[in-house]
Symmetry: D2
C-alpha cells in the first residue's frame, strides 16, 4: 500500500518515468490558509539539477494543484498535487532490464512483479517519489506553524566530514542559501563537503552521510504509547525514503554505551515556569510522548547506488555473471537533497499525530 497516516493520509502517486509524480492527501483540515509559494520554494530545494553537487537530470518540477485548495485555503477535499516528469531518458533502462544494478531494487522488484511494474528510472522505487512527501510535508508545516511547531533539518555529516556544533547556524535562510548547496549547519565545512562530493562525481563514485532533524514547539503529551509512539511513526515514515539505513533519537546508539544515572535527563523549572530537562538524551520523547523538549533524530543515508565504476552482477536470463557500469545522470551524494525530504516527511507525521491527539483529548467529546 502506498499510503501513510491515519488522519493526514498521504498517498504517493506516479513514478519516476511516468507522466508525473505527486501526492493525494486525504484528511486535510479544511479552511486552512496555505501559501502555495512556500510549497514551490521547498520543491526547489529538492529539485534535481539545482547545483553542481546534484544530478544533471533537469526537472523544473512545477507544482500543479488539481484540487483541495481554493483561493489559497484548503477545502477539505482530498488534495491532489503533482509535478510533471519532463526530462526523461528511459532508453538505458531497457538495456539493463536483465542485469540488475547492485544496490538498487531492480532484482527483488523484477522477481516480485514479474516484469509488470514500470521499472524505468527505478519506477516506484525512485527517490523522485519523494516529491509528494515534500508537497504534503510543506502543507503540514504551514498548518503546524500556526501552533508554534517548527522543523529544521540539515546535513550533519557527509563523507566523514562533520562540523562543530558551536558554529551551527540553524536558520532556514542559511541552510537553504545558494551559498550552501550541501545544506550543512557549520559554515566552515561547506567548502570541504562540496569538494568531497564533486570529487566523487568525477570519480564516478558516491558518498553517504547523516541528516539531523529538530522539531520544536510540540505540546507536552503529544504522541501515543506503544505502536503510535512519535518514534514509531517517524521511523516508519523515514525508512520509506530511499537510501536510509538507520535512524536514532536523542542519544541514539550512544545510549547503548551509557549508564542510567548518566542517561536520565534531570528535570528543572526554567525562568518562564516551564518544566524542562537539563540534557536531552531522550530526544524530546519519553514513552512515545513529547516531553516538551526538542524532538531530535538523525538519519543515516547510504552512498547513492548508481556509480559508474565497474560492478559485478548476474544476467537473470542467462544466469551468468555479468559486468555493469551504471550510466545515466545520478547524484554523487543524495544527502543535500534529502534534507528537505526528511524535514517534510517528519512534518506529515507530526500533523497526523496532532490530529490524533485532538480525538483523545479529554475535553473533547463533551
Amino acid at each position: 500500500m502506498n499510503t501513510f497516516g491515519i488522519n493526514y493520509k498521504v498517498t504517493l502517486i506516479g513514478s519516476s518515468h511516468g507522466n508525473m509524480v505527486g501526492v493525494v492527501i486525504d484528511g486535510v483540515p479544511s479552511g486552512e490558509q496555505i501559501d502555495t509559494q512556500q510549497i514551490k520554494q521547498e520543491l526547489k530545494y529538492r529539485r534535481p539539477g539545482q547545483s553542481d553537487v546534484t544530478t544533471d537530470r533537469d526537472e523544473k518540477d512545477e507544482l500543479i494543484i488539481e484540487s483541495g485548495i481554493l483561493n489559497e485555503r484548503t477545502t477539505g477535499e482530498p488534495l491532489v498535487a503533482y509535478v510533471r516528469n519532463k526530462d526523461i531518458d528511459s532508453s538505458y533502462y531497457d538495456e539493463i532490464k536483465n542485469t540488475p544494478r547492485p544496490g538498487h531494487a531492480d532484482y527483488p522488484a523484477f522477481v516480485k512483479y514479474k516484469g509488470a511494474n514500470d521499472y524505468r528510472g527505478g519506477g516506484r522505487f525512485s527517490g523522485r517519489m519523494t516529491v509528494g512527501l515534500v508537497i504534503a510535508g510543506n502543507i503540514a508545516k504551514q498548518i503546524l506553524f500556526k501552533s508554534g511547531i517548527k522543523f529544521v533539518a540539515y546535513s550533519k555529516e557527509i563523507g566523514e566530514i562533520s562540523g562543530s556544533e558551536e558554529k551551527y547556524n540553524l536558520q532556514e535562510s542559511f541552510i537553504y542559501s545558494d551559498a550552501n548547496p550541501v545544506r550543512v549547519a557549520d559554515p566552515d565545512i561547506i567548502m570541504p563537503v562540496q569538494t568531497k562530493i564533486v570529487s566523487m562525481k568525477d570519480e564516478g563514485d558516491s558518498v553517504g552521510g547523516i541528516v539531523e532533524c529538530q522539531i520544536t514547539g510540540l505540546q507536552v503529551g503529544l504522541g501515543e504509547p506503544f505502536f503510535d509512539s512519535i518514534e514509531s511513526r517517524i521511523a516508519h515514515m523515514i525508512f520509506s525514503i530511499p537510501a536510509v539505513k538507520g535512524i536514532e533519537f536523542g542519544s541514539g546508539f550512544n545510549a547503548a554505551r551509557m549508564q542510567g544515572s548518566q542517561h536520565n535527563d534531570q528535570y528543572y523549572v526554567d525562568p518562564q515556569g516551564v518544566i524542562k530537562t537539563k540534557t536531552n538524551n531522550a530526544g524530546g520523547i519519553l514513552g512515545g510522548l513529547s516531553n516538551g523538549m526538542p524532538v531530535v533524530f538523525r538519519v543515516a543515508f547510504k552512498p547513492t547506488s548508481s556509480v559508474s565504476k565497474d560492478q559485478t552482477t548476474v544476467n537473470t536470463e542467462t544466469m551468468q555473471e555479468s559486468h555493469l557500469k551504471v550510466r545515466g545522470r545520478h547524484d554523487p551524494c543524495i544527502v543535500p537533497r534529502a534534507v528537505p525530504v526528511v524535514n517534510n516527511a517528519a512534518a506529515c507525521v507530526l500533523l497526523d499525530l496532532v490530529l490524533e491527539g485532538k480525538k483523545t483529548d479529554l475535553e473533547g467529546v463533551n
Copy 2:
C-alpha cells in the same frame, strides 16, 4: 491506537499493574497447527525474575488462551491470550505521583491523561506490555517456520562489551540456555557481561546495549515499496518497545561513511543456482523488498531509567525542584529480556508482510 499490523493485527491489552497483560490478534490464518508449549517457553525467556541479571519482580506469567485456538489449531477467530499480573506492589506509585521519574513516561503521561490513566507500574508504558508481543510473535514464528522463515536474536553488545563474530553460536539452544542468562552469541563474553550487569545492580545503576536480529528464508520480493518497506514496518514495531533509541539495517550508520562502489553488494550465482550477494550491506533489503539475503538489523537500548541513585526532578504540584531515588524492583539491564521481544516483534511484522504479499501476488486473483 494500540494496534499494529494490517493483516495480522496485534492489539496489546491490559497494563502493568492491572489484572493482566496480553494480546488480541485479528487476522490469524485459520487451521494452523500451534504448539502452545513453545509460546510458554518463549514467555519464560522474557519473564522477570528468571536470573540474577533481571528484576526481582516474580511473575510466573502463565499463559491463558481464551479463544482462537481449539485443539492446537487456530480457528480464525480473534485470538485472545494473556498472563495474569500477580506480584504487584503499587504502593510506591502513589508516593511518586507528583514527582515524575527522570527517563520515564511519567511526566508527559501525566500531562496527557490529566491523571486518568492507570499510572501504577508504568501502566501502558511499562515494558511488561511486551508480553503480548512475545505471544503474538511466537504464533507468527510457528506459522512462518513452515515456509522456512527463521528468526534469531541475541545481545550484540552490553555495557560496551561485545564479542567477536568468529566465535558466534547462533543456535537458539545456546542463546537461551540457562548458562547464558545474558543472551550473547560469543560464549567468551557471558561471564564479563553478567559481572557487569550485576555490578550495576549493586550500584543501583543500569546499563544499555544492542540487540541484533537476523531473519532468514524470506522469499525474494517480499515487502512493498515505500511506506510498507520491510524496514519501515520493522522500525515502526521496534520503536514501540520501551527503551529503544535507534535501529539500523545492514551496514546501518556505518553506511554514511562509505562510498557507493564499496557499499553496493555485488551479485553472484551460488552453487545451488541461487542469486546472492557477496556482501550484505543492504541487510537483505533493497527498495524495501527482500533480496533473498538474511535480513539483519540492530536495535539500541538505553540503560533502564529506574536507578536508585539520587536524581533531580520537579514536583508538578508545587513546581519546586525535588529529589528522588527510584525504589521498586527493576532490571539493571533490559537487554537480555529484550532479546526474545525483538525476535518476536519482528515475527509479527514479517507474517503481516507475508500475508500482504499473498494479496499482491500476480497469480492470485485469477
Copy 3:
C-alpha cells in the same frame, strides 16, 4: 477482520460455544465516567432466557471487565470486557456437521474454513456475538449522553403486526419494562405480538420483524461526505448483526415512489431560533451529514433460521439429499432481543463519527 470503527474501534472476541464472548475497544476516550450498572442492565435486555418469547438457553451473562475502566472511569487503555459462556450444549452440532442447516451460515462457513472453525453453536456467526456490541454501545451511549445525544429503538413490526404511531410510548422505561417483553412502542400490541411469537414457538416455527431506531441531539454537520456518511457507517454496522435483510433511512423504500416536490423537507425556524424541517423524509441526514433532525432508520430482520419443522438439505459428504429438524433451544423471533443490539450498535457508530468530527473541526489544529 473482526473490527469496526476508525476512532472507537470495536473488536468482537470469543464465540458462541467457546469460553466467552465479548469485546475489545481501542480508542476509548480516557477519563470518562462510566456506570457499569447500566452496561449490566442493557445486557439483561439482550440476554437469552429472559422471557417466554426468547430462547430457553439460560445465560446469566455476567459482565467481566478486565481492563480499561478503573474506579468507574475510563483509563484510555483498550477496554476488554466479556461474559462467560455457561449453558453450553454442543453435542448436537457434531451430529449436524455434514448436513448444513438451511438459512444458517453452516454451508459457506464449512467451505471457507474447511472445518477449522469452531462451528459449535454457530461459532463466530452466532447472534451471541452481539454481546460485545451491547457492551461497547452502552459505553458509547454513556459518553454521548453528556453531549445530549440519545438513542431509542423498539420493535416497529413483528409477524405483520404493527401498532399506530399516535399511541407510541418511546420511554426506555416502557420499551424495556417486564410487561413489554416484545419491546414494542404501542402498548395495545404487546399482547397480540406476544401471542404470535409464542404460537410460533409452539409450532416449531419462527417469525421476522422490523426494528426502528431514532437518534436525537446530534449537532448539525456531523458525519462525512461519501464513504463515511452517517448512513454508510450505520448500514455497515447493522448488516453485521445476524438475520438483518434490509435497512432504510427516513422515507426509505417509500422514497422510490415519491416526487421530489413532495419528498424534499422544507426548512423553517422554530420558536427557539433553530432551523428545522417540516417533514423528516431525509431521516435526519443530508449528503451523509446530520441536519439536526432526528436520525431515523428501520432494520428488517428475517425469521430465525432455526425451526424444528422438517427441512431439506444436502449431506456434504455423501452429496445426497437429507432431511433435518433443527433441535436445540432457539428464539422463535429474534426481534425483541435485537432491539438493544440495534440501539447499541448505532451508538458505537455515532461515537466513532463524533470523534472523527473532532479531527476535522476547523478550530481544531490551531
Copy 4:
C-alpha cells in the same frame, strides 16, 4: 475520509465544479490486462446529457489515466484517473449560498465547513463524484471477470412503474442499448417510464425508483463474518452514493413478514453436482458469506432534490423564511444514470473481498 476498501482502496478526488473528478486506487493487483475502452464505454452510460431523460449538463467525460496502467496492463502503482469538468456554470451557486436548497446537503455542509468547502455544484456532495466509482468499478469488473464473476444492474422500478420478471432481458447489450435510455429489464416498460420521466422534467419535478443488482460466479465462502460481511461492505459503499435511502438483500423487507419454515432456502444438488438452494431468499449470502447463489440486492433512490417548483427554505444570514426555485440543469430522475454506478460500486467491494479472501485462504501461507 474519502477512501473505501481495505485491499482495493478507492479514493474519490476532485469536485463537481473543480478542475476534475476522478479516482485514485491503491492496491490494484499488478500485471492485469485492462481494456480502457470498456472504462470509457461505462462512463458514457453514466454521462450527463446522454438522452432526454437526463440532465442537460453536457460533459464529454473523457477519460485521462495519469498512472497505474502501462501498455494496457496494471503496473501495481496507485492508479490515478479522472475526467475534466468542462460545462461548468457556477454563477447560480453564489446566489443561493445563504438559502439552502431543501433535500440537498447545503445546510449541514455550510454548518460543518463554515463556508470553507467548495460548495459550487454540490462540491463533494455531488452525484458527479460517482465518476470515480465507475472507473474503479469497471477495472475491478475486468479483473473479476477472469474468475467468472459477473455483474448486472437495471432499473427495477421508476415512478411506481415496474415490469414483470418473466419478460426480463438482463443482457448488458439490452440494458445499455440506446433504445433503452431508462435501463429497465422489461422491454414493455421502456416507453411508459420514459414518458413518466419526461413529464416530470416538464413539470419541474422529479421521481425516484429502485435499482436491482445481481452478482453471479462468486465462490462459496467469499466474505467474512460480522463486520466484513458481504452485506455490510456493499451497504457501506452503496449508501455513499447520493440519493440512496435504503438497501435490501434477497427477500429484504419482505422477510420481516415471513415465517422461518418458508424463508429458509432448502438445499439440493443440481445435475452438475453443485449444491444449490431451491429459493434465494438469502440473496446469495448466509452469515455474511457467499453461498454460491447469485447475490441480489435492491437500492431505493429518492427523487432528485433539485426541482424547479417553489420551495420554502430559510435564509441562514437573516434567519427569515425564504422561497426558492432551484435553477440549473438537473436530472428529473437519477435512476437510469445510477444503474452503472450501483453496478460498478458493487464491483469495487467484491474485488476488495476477493483480495481479502486470498489472505485468509488456508493454503495461503505455507
